[in-house]
Point group: C3
Chain length 159, copies 3
């Protein structure tokens, strides 16, 4: 029988939504499914190295980059973020509940063979260079790559 597959578009850069996507992705991969995560727009901020500089891009892209910080530790939450206080509380709650943090989830997903693609179109728009991405990123590709994966999947989610 063919191996089932699932595809997730991670559009959001929010801690709570990214957590949800990794819980689904790692759960599916652990159960033997082929899993594709396609990171686009704000979701790309997760895949950027912390402190990544935006060299050679216009001031507007720099400003966007300044206002939405890169890296798993800098993710806000979608509600009650309150300048990061909510996100920080959420991370403490997760720790107390023995949940892995985002960095560990990224590693776990990578180790389980989850394909993590960075959307090339959004990288251009947001001024994100390939060499500022974390090593867990397996592909840099556009919408055609997503479509191929989605058409082979038993479910596709936009998160």
């Amino acid at each position: 029988m063919e191996k089932k597959a699932g595809t997730l578009i991670v559009f959001s850069g929010d801690l709570d939504k990214i957590m949800a996507s990794f819980i689904i992705a790692t759960g599916a991969a652990a159960s033997g499914m082929k899993v594709n995560m396609f990171f686009t727009f704000w979701g790309l901020k997760l895949l950027q190295q912390e402190g990544a500089k935006t060299k050679g891009v216009g001031w507007m892209k720099k400003m966007f980059s300044f206002m939405v910080k890169p890296g798993p530790d800098k993710r806000p939450i979608s509600k009650l973020n309150m300048m990061g206080m909510g996100a920080s509380m959420m991370k403490k709650i997760m720790k107390k509940s023995n949940m892995p943090d985002l960095k560990s989830m990224l590693t776990m997903a990578h180790d389980l063979g989850v394909k993590m693609t960075a959307c090339s179109t959004s990288m251009g728009v947001l001024g994100i260079k390939k060499d500022t991405l974390i090593p867990e990123v397996t592909n840099v590709a556009g919408v055609t790559s997503f479509l191929a994966d989605a058409n082979e999947s038993s479910f596709t989610l936009f998160i």
Copy 2:
């Protein structure tokens, strides 16, 4: 012929998005489809009894619970909520348009046989106890249960 199925992850706790999910869920169930709703994170707040207390959980979980009120009547809207004024206007508009309110939609979904699952992982993180959930909840389960449903569905949505 096999009965078609649809699966919805209700992540959002916002009135407008929850309404959308119930319109889809009840519409699908009424047309003879098998429908699974998997409530996670902020979406769980809908399934909590109004005035539910958070006993035996840390102060951080209590504070989250205080700031995001439980129950169908306390849902904000995702835009223009303005401390509840927007949500209250939205509810009046729905009433004038002869739309059922969230409580009626919950009952309707239940009567149509929609499976409503509360996500056990998020319950732990948000400090939500099983005995504070409304009786319409049919299951308490984790991501594996969602995956089983999604793999049998003709569509799966993350709302």
Copy 3:
């Protein structure tokens, strides 16, 4: 072989999310897929003619309409909108990156044969009249129409 299909529910009225949905929709249509876009709730604001008046509806619907402006040029972004400043920067960035604007994307989708349906239920709730919709709208229909499309699609997204 049967032509593959994809269905997108565009619930959001935010520039960044709408852009994402059109990039997916036009990409899929260009690759030969049948594509259905079902616009509901805030997503309907994209399909309204700019400056569309809300005649014959109550003051609450008028107020909602006033606060969420119609038309592709008036879309805010989901993060950092800052009274439109963020949206305006985003549009300049897109232009510099040689990305088409929303109006061009709408035309492109239409020319590629993407089916664009306006949700009749939401139109009632938000006080949007059929004659204020842009000509690219191919259908006005309810959830049953969406379900029929979703059940024939290889992927369905809620955006």
